[in-house]
Subunit: 243 residues, 2 copies
Amino acid sequence: MTYCVGAMIDAGLVFASDSRTNAGIDNVSTYRKMKVFENAGDRVIVVLSSGNLAITQATLAQLEQIIKRGNVPNLMSVGSMYEATELIGAALRQVRERDGLHLQQNNVDAGANFIVGGQIAGEPMRLFLVYAEGNFIEATPETPYFQIGETKYGKPIIDRIVNKDTTMLRTVKCVLVSFDSTMRSNLSVGMPIDLVCYARDDLRVLHSRHLDESDEYMRRLRILWGEGLNRAFAELPPPDWMA
Amino acid sequence: MTYCVGAMIDAGLVFASDSRTNAGIDNVSTYRKMKVFENAGDRVIVVLSSGNLAITQATLAQLEQIIKRGNVPNLMSVGSMYEATELIGAALRQVRERDGLHLQQNNVDAGANFIVGGQIAGEPMRLFLVYAEGNFIEATPETPYFQIGETKYGKPIIDRIVNKDTTMLRTVKCVLVSFDSTMRSNLSVGMPIDLVCYARDDLRVLHSRHLDESDEYMRRLRILWGEGLNRAFAELPPPDWMA
């Protein structure tokens, strides 16, 4: 399983992804699920992926090859995030067309999703969710974030905290708490966590962190959040009919 | 959708279920998903159900008819919770055999689950989860609760709070917070909530509450829990690389 979050606030963009993949419980590995396409001063495009790992890797490999060959349009050449997301959706469709039937014959799920966000010079920041079918939707001020993978355990805290006016700092803390809740409830989501922060109109990555098991901040966050929840819970009054 | 929880602590049993069912978003109704079979001094058996409503209703109707007709074995005659759960699993299989093919022809999911818990004189309290196939598992001190339906949003708080030593009061508060989180994140889970508490060896229901939209305690719980979470979140330190 996988857990990825992309959030767009007025101040910028926050992306995070876990690194665990599994093909059955005896086959758990670590792969990066975040790819950053950056040309400082011109563009930052972050792609998070979930679903069938062979499908998402092949999709991204194809997109990178086009860049290397210098064929256009490619992710480093397009003039808008919308076109970048179209390229990703189209590459996903191509890979699924090529591999899908073979996977289906063995009842392997070929599903894959991407979160695509960033900014290209001359355009505002944008954030998209690419469906397994290759079509996509865009985040709005009312729905400022997307999740893919194991989304439910970590959703309630984001719904409470993140809106377009939330600061970058609060958004980062919230995304990491959301990862903590998810990793607690689903063993197939695990460290390390890749985290990227982008400040609006910067056109270069602001923070890029790789938080592994030994990360002191994640360890403290886990303990303090547990204690805070327990305190908040203890302060709730009893029902009158039980008091 | 549905959300039901059954928890077995040393002090007793706590059961709760929501009341919303839907067959498409324009067809949302309220049905009780909790059934209590009680013969004070002899037994209390609580059954919570999720899944296809026609299937769960037919299963329970069949079990009640057998009681009314006085045929044995039935839920009011059996000598153990294990046998009671066997009866429920067998009735579910019968109903699915009768109706399953018809549902399948229209691609309707015939899946259904039950949580079955209680105590029969001469036996300890027990708690079971009945799968859609009619087989079942039993709760243990290490896994003292079961959820059915929309389980993920409300699971993290139960995992943090409930173990076999938790008091009845804390367990009730925790289950209601779990419902609050679930209802916030999934509109198809909704009030009223049916709640039953059973104190170990009492052989009669201790509390039975029907909490509807106007319930003052649930309203306060929702507000106070939101405030408590926000406080706990605000107290978390920033990552050192952002401070």
